[in-house]
């Protein structure tokens, strides 16, 4: 538990060489991050509140790894090693012994702060803590620990084992060494990192707001119908127009993200949700998962 101190600054020096990664939370994001780390050769400690959640998660990860083998993305040998790389635990103190701890718990400030407080008490002081939060402040989470210099955001995108981007978010106290170590970790996963300041919605979720917001406005004005708007946007090279994409994401998720960004900026008019979003959610037309959203989908 002895903290290696930087003799010059007295700050904690981050652990630059680690082979173990702990992922806290075995939901969609946690599983994707854990899978990416295991495939990159890390020993992965997956932590959640119940044993059955963990075994189910590992089963899903195995299926996903096998899928990668079938599609020729992963070799048999790498897949076998990755599947053998997991340790499952319900103990945050055990997870805290990894070289890098990535939290991917539900997006609740109190819950995340409580997790980080417990991790902070158990982990060596130079262990880097990262949060995969998409909507909470990195500074707010770092504030629950005594290691602001070794704390940052690593925002992965869903599905995390496939998407190449990671937003590396620095808090006010994050050290350059911590950023460099995190970027080296992201590169070791075969992913690309971008540096981002701790501001609501970071880069992607912020800059993408008008893609949805203006599409809703245009639809609300009856400037064009759903399909025309989608086809026009797709003609520019977007893989999916806004409404096809929202149906894939889920109207409920899209509405929740919109509200969260709007609230985080205290009602900035650019981010204001549109009544159509609320109406879609209230009427149960959530998109592909309910069979109807802006389009109708065949039953599975």
């Amino acid at each position: 538990m002895a903290a290696p101190q930087d003799p010059q600054s007295g700050m904690n020096r981050p652990n630059l060489s680690f082979t173990t990664v702990a992922v806290i939370g075995s939901g969609t994001m946690g599983r994707g991050i854990a899978q990416a780390a295991a495939l990159a050769g890390y020993q992965v400690t997956l932590c959640d509140i119940a044993r059955d959640l963990l075994t189910a998660a590992l089963e899903q990860i195995s299926v996903s790894i096998d899928d990668g083998v079938r599609r020729g993305k992963t070799s048999e040998a790498v897949a076998a090693d990755a599947k053998a790389a997991f340790t499952l635990t319900t103990s945050l103190a055990e997870a805290a012994q990894a070289g890098l701890v990535i939290e991917a718990a539900p997006e609740t400030l109190d819950l995340k702060q409580s997790i980080f407080r417990q991790l902070d008490a158990a982990a060596p002081s130079a262990t880097i803590f990262a949060s995969n939060t998409s909507s909470l402040s990195i500074n707010a989470l770092a504030g629950a620990t005594q290691r602001g210099d070794c704390f940052l955001g690593l925002h992965f995108f869903n599905p995390a084992h496939l998407m190449k981007l990671v937003e590396v978010i620095s808090g006010d106290d994050t050290s350059d060494a911590t950023l460099a170590a995190a970027e080296a970790f992201v590169a070791s996963l075969g992913k690309t990192s971008v540096r981002c300041k701790d501001t609501p919605a970071f880069i992607v979720n912020r800059v993408a707001r008008p893609f949805y917001g203006e599409a809703f406005r245009l639809l609300g004005e009856d400037a064009a119908d759903v399909e025309t708007i989608d086809r026009l946007v797709e003609s520019l090279g977007f893989r999916m127009g806004p409404f096809r994409l929202i149906d894939l994401i889920g109207c409920d998720i899209n509405f929740a993200v919109t509200q969260s960004v709007y609230d985080a900026y205290f009602g900035e008019p650019r981010y204001r949700p549109h009544p159509i979003q609320q109406r879609m959610v209230q009427s149960g037309r959530l998109g592909r998962k309910t069979g109807v959203g802006f389009y109708r989908y065949e039953e599975k």
Binding site: F157, L165, K197, V204, E221, F238, P269
Partner: protein, 259 residues
């Protein structure tokens, strides 16, 4: 068909390219040519044979009025005139003319390569025939016409300009570097171009004009142009055409990742 195009880069070249590829006889005139003394244009006889005139000028209202007035002076009142509705509504552009029925708004957003769709909008005084003629013309170019409501930016220009404006706002707040913002949008959400490189291609002056047009039309804060965007235009950093916008363009072109 004989097509006359009056506009600024990159719209002028890209639209002319489409029309040439379709086998039309194309006359491309820069806005500056029309702003100068055009009474003695040496190819005036060619110019007079126009089946359609396409205006692609995104400058001030006064300049656009001059473009429309040139067309009014030179062409008979039944010549189809397509005006770019990116920065102002069709109705607004047609308001200075005595023959608004032959004017139809269109929306194209470079880079045009293979986009295959044009937006068309009728102003309040546009004629029904003109709208049909316009759709027929774009079909000859291989472009499908989608008729949408009139208003600055139409669908694509409005959506993309607002995304660029948000990206400029994020850059202004120093959330991330220009290169990282573009990388994030391309890798994190599969955008075909980084929004800031896209702005450099369109011209920051054009993006600013779309935002200003939206802001004036709706009077809503959500369309307020990012101060950084305005400052860059004032500083002459217009993008590719001045080799300096959000990026420096010789380098970026050489890297081969330009839009």
């Amino acid at each position: 068909m004989n097509v006359v195009i009056i506009g600024d880069t990159p719209f002028l070249e890209e639209i002319a390219g489409l029309c040439v590829r379709a086998g039309h006889v194309v006359r491309a005139l820069t806005v500056d040519t029309i702003l100068g003394d055009w009474s003695d244009l040496e190819y005036a006889t060619d110019l007079l044979n126009a089946d359609v005139v396409i205006e692609a000028c995104h400058r001030s209202r006064r300049t656009r009025r001059q473009m429309v007035s040139f067309v009014e002076t030179v062409y008979p009142p039944d010549t189809l005139l397509l005006v770019s509705a990116l920065t102002a509504s069709t109705t607004a552009i047609a308001s200075s003319t005595s023959a608004p029925q032959r004017i139809v708004g269109y929306g194209l957003l470079p880079p045009l390569a293979d986009t295959g769709m044009v937006e068309l909008a009728a102003g309040l005084n546009s004629g029904k025939d003109a709208l049909q003629q316009a759709a027929a013309f774009w079909r000859t170019v291989g472009y499908e016409a989608a008729v949408v409501a009139d208003g600055p930016g139409l669908v694509r220009g409005r959506l993309i300009a607002c995304i660029i404006n948000e990206a400029a706002g994020a850059l202004q707040d120093r959330v991330a570097s220009a290169a990282d913002i573009d990388t994030a949008m391309q890798l994190g959400t599969n955008y075909p171009h980084g929004p800031l490189a896209w702005a450099d291609h369109l011209g920051l002056d054009v993006v600013l004009a779309i935002m200003t047009g939206l802001y004036e039309e709706w009077g809503e804060d959500r369309y307020r142009p990012a101060p950084l965007l305005r400052r860059m235009v004032l500083a002459g950093r217009l993008g590719k055409k001045t080799h300096h916008g959000f990026f420096r363009w010789k380098e970026i072109t050489e890297k081969g990742d330009s839009p």
